[in-house]
């Protein structure tokens, strides 16, 4: 019964999305305010029904209901409960249901919380949101039903890919999806504003928190995903430029650009067309990301289902939404008056430079990701790997960091070049000092530039707080400072990792020491261990450095359902870096392969990521508080 109830909830939600779209259309086209007023409650109920469907699917997994096809294919009764729970979205159908659930809830949240937008524009926005949701409901109901039954029921499930049996999986997709879907709200706002010809500061102010929320979740999702891949895949790297990694990086780049341009529109009424364009592009990147992962068109370690029919369905949705929005943009944006203008040397100018550089990086990543598909249509099979992306995007990213350092030190509207130069003396000094100091340990060109610029950016990012009354500085200024500082921290970690990592691959007997970086690692012995649904060979390693000793226990793990083995790395985290150990195969003569890495300051990459997201959160809270105060003041005036 639970599966049928879930399916029914999904059908009702889809029907309500259709109703929501029709009511919004009637409300706007006929000017029927009574009809338009009903759009809000419909959006809320639609979101709740999607949530109900998702909850019922989770219940089916928790209960290990082996009469449901999806559960049989992706779960096993002997699995730990956390992975039964996460198994609900660790597959194609479940993850699409999660996507539409977050989409529906986001629409409901807009309906509940959005008060600053004119009613007509809000109705149009909710109509656009319903259109997106409708496509995904159709996708689930007609081509990816997660509640399909299996007759006769299976004795037990096939299990979940062991690589996915990690707490990282339980939280990574929902985080990333919230980010993706948050961008759908920005997209709907843009479409709504185009429909009612209402592109201006008020619209930008309403859109900004949603972009911020999406951006915070994307940042967290990417950071967590990177760390998860780093410790779970056991290859010692943190970013591979895998198509699926790019699929989450591209929306992030677009959202970052959008975040900055929407601020220009909200506070200075500039960059109107550009902001709308970015909102469309950002959501397009989310959709393209979904398409790339779901269609099986690209080969990747992450891609789920190789299914052209589903790929075609998502491709059709892509064509309707993105093509439709771009056509609407082209037809309508000419009627939107240009915003105010500004000098090239100004805060706006810096933000435009930031936007252009981000767009160029986005273009490079997009081309690198799609190029294999294009090449394949000419009969050439190839893949584009890290060397291309690092070489092409690296220098531009460093240029962007330089712009980031200067931008916040500029004044709005117009600034004096000489005064600017005076203000950036200190960051430039820090950059030069770091650059000269690094000449003595020459780390290679890109890492050298990266570490030097990170020092400059770290100084520059706290400069806006200089000589200010820290108590009266608004929270969103702190947010910006922390986020920019986080970028400097991440950049330092990335550059340090690529410059100073030491790697050793050895075959050792018990008692034989191996050296890596400042550590001496000794294999004490190998012993078998048993987990909930796996067995493993576990090595006991003693790592000594100076006088201190630590124990690490990397494992070679075997799963029965399905039969697979994985390497569970063991990582020792210390103040100045991480010792990363992986147990390899025995050579049959009593020796064991060990892969050892010493990675100085690698943790800064993710610590920086967390700081960036924290900066975003402070900005969001700051903005919301200010708007609330303004609203209260308006009420009393």
């Amino acid at each position: 019964m639970i599966a049928e109830a879930g399916l029914a909830a999904l059908w009702f939600a889809g029907a309500l999305a259709a109703l929501q779209l029709m009511m919004a259309a009637i409300g706007i086209a006929r000017g029927r305010e009574d009809v338009a007023a009903a759009v809000r409650p419909v959006a809320i109920v639609q979101g709740l029904l999607a949530l109900l469907a998702m909850a019922l699917l989770i219940e089916l997994f928790r209960d290990s209901d082996m009469s449901v096809k999806l559960v049989v294919e992706n779960s096993h009764s002997a699995k730990p409960w956390l992975y039964k729970f996460a198994g609900a979205w660790g597959n194609h159908e479940g993850s699409m249901l999660l996507w539409v659930t977050i989409l529906g809830l986001a629409g409901g949240a807009v309906a509940i919380f959005e008060r600053s937008l004119p009613e007509r524009t809000l109705t149009a926005t909710l109509g656009a949101q319903a259109t997106i949701a409708l496509g995904f409901y159709a996708f689930l109901l007609f081509s990816s039903n997660p509640f399909a039954r299996l007759n006769p029921a299976a004795a037990d499930g096939l299990g979940l890919n062991p690589l996915l049996q990690d707490p990282g999986l339980a939280f990574h997709p929902p985080t990333l999806y919230t980010g993706y879907v948050g961008l759908s709200v920005a997209f709907s706002f843009a479409v709504g504003a185009l429909v009612t010809r209402d592109v201006g500061p008020a619209f930008a102010k309403a859109m900004r928190p949603w972009v911020l929320i999406a951006w915070i979740f994307l940042t967290l999702g990417i950071t967590a995903g990177s760390y998860w891949a780093y410790y779970e895949l056991g290859w010692g790297g943190w970013w591979f430029w895998d198509p699926v990694e790019n699929a989450s990086l591209m929306p992030w780049l677009a959202a970052t650009a959008l975040l900055h341009s929407v601020t220009v529109l909200a506070t200075r009424d500039g960059l109107r067309a550009w902001t709308i364009m970015l909102a469309v592009v950002a959501f397009s990147m989310s959709m393209i990301g979904t398409f790339l992962v779901r269609s099986g068109i690209l080969t990747s370690v992450h891609a789920f289902a190789v299914d052209p029919e589903r790929g075609a369905f998502i491709l059709a949705l892509l064509a309707i939404y993105i093509g439709g929005a771009l056509a609407l943009f082209a037809a309508r944006i000419g009627t939107v008056r240009a915003g105010t203008t500004f000098d090239p040397v100004s805060r706006e100018g810096g933000l435009v430079a930031n936007n252009l550089l981000l767009s160029v990086i986005l273009g490079i990543v997009l081309i690198g990701t799609l190029y294999p598909i294009v090449a394949a249509s000419f009969g050439v099979q190839l893949s584009v790997g890290p060397p291309f992306f690092n070489k092409a995007a690296g220098p531009i990213a460093l240029l962007l960091v330089a712009v980031m350092a200067v931008g916040p030190l500029l004044r709005w509207r117009r600034d004096d070049a000489k005064a600017v130069l005076r203000r950036v003396m200190l960051p430039i000094g820090a950059t030069l000092a770091a650059a000269i100091a690094l000449l003595f340990v020459w780390p290679g060109v890109l890492p050298w530039a990266g570490l030097s610029l990170a020092a400059g950016l770290a100084v520059a990012s706290v400069a806006p707080l200089w000589k200010r009354n820290l108590k009266r500085t608004p929270l969103f200024t702190y947010g910006m400072v922390i986020a920019h500082f986080g970028i400097a921290v991440s950049l330092a970690g990335m550059a340090s990792d690529s410059a100073f990592t030491k790697e050793t691959l050895v075959a050792v007997r018990a008692g034989e020491p191996a050296r890596v970086g400042p550590y001496t690692v000794t294999l004490d012995g190998i012993s078998p261990v048993i987990g909930e649904n796996w067995s493993a060979l576990e090595a006991r390693l003693t790592a000594t450095r100076g006088g201190s000793e630590s124990i690490l226990r990397p494992q070679l793990r075997f799963f029965a359902n399905p039969p697979t083995s994985t390497n569970e790395s063991a990582i020792l985290t210390v103040l100045d870096g991480q010792l990363y150990t992986v147990l390899g195969q025995p050579d049959g003569q009593g020796r064991w392969q060990l892969r050892l890495w010493w990675k100085p300051f690698v943790t800064l990459i993710w610590f920086g990521g967390v700081l960036i997201a924290l900066g975003g959160m402070l900005s969001l809270i700051g903005r919301l508080l200010r708007e609330r105060r303004a609203a209260i003041r308006a009420e009393w005036a």
């Binding site: 269609s295 491709l315 771009l326 082209a330 598909i373 294009v374 249509s377």
Partner: protein, 175 residues
């Protein structure tokens, strides 16, 4: 001019869309082409899997006669489905060697008892290292190798009854 520029994003998107859509529907996309075809086997030497049957080295494929190399495992269900076709190939005079992936001697012995034993040699690839070197990503997989050790054909997935004739032909051509 300005008007035209506004439609540019849509035009770019349409172009991209056409390319991606064509990529999705091109039938060749569904067949994974092996990078190994036309190349010599990588060098390997695998220990024997079961008592009484020799292990497998790449040198044994360079003795002037074409052979089949079957990658399989006792825990692999499609391998069971494939077994009768391998027995038929053996009966038709095709020499077959095997690499057993991540397996144990008792499990393989049981598998051969239940499903028949078409193999002349079986090498044990406990860590899938040779499998990876062969560019093989799953079990079962079968390679037709000519007398000089060059891979002339790769069959991904289980050999169906309708594939048998085609394989025999490939082995004949490889002579």
């Amino acid at each position: 001019m300005k008007r035209f520029a506004l439609w540019a994003p849509l035009a770019i998107f349409a172009l991209l869309f056409a390319v991606v859509a064509s990529g999705l529907f091109r039938p060749a996309e569904k067949v994974v082409r092996s990078a190994m075809v036309g190349k010599p086997l990588p060098d390997f030497a695998l220990p024997a899997m079961v008592p009484g049957k020799p292990g497998l080295t790449s040198a044994s494929f360079r003795q002037g006669k074409p052979r089949l190399l079957n990658v399989f495992a006792s825990w692999c269900i499609p391998c069971i489905a494939e077994a009768p076709q391998l027995m038929r190939l053996k009966a038709m005079g095709v020499p077959i060697d095997a690499i057993a992936i991540r397996d144990t001697a008792p499990a393989i012995a049981g598998f051969l008892r239940r499903n028949g034993d078409p193999y002349e040699r079986i090498g044990s690839d406990r860590a899938s290292q040779v499998q990876l070197a062969l560019g093989s990503s799953g079990v079962p997989e079968t390679f037709v190798i000519d007398g000089r050790g060059i891979v002339v054909k790769q069959i991904i997935g289980d050999i169906r009854p309708e594939n048998v004739a085609e394989i025999v032909l490939a082995v004949k051509d490889a002579r």
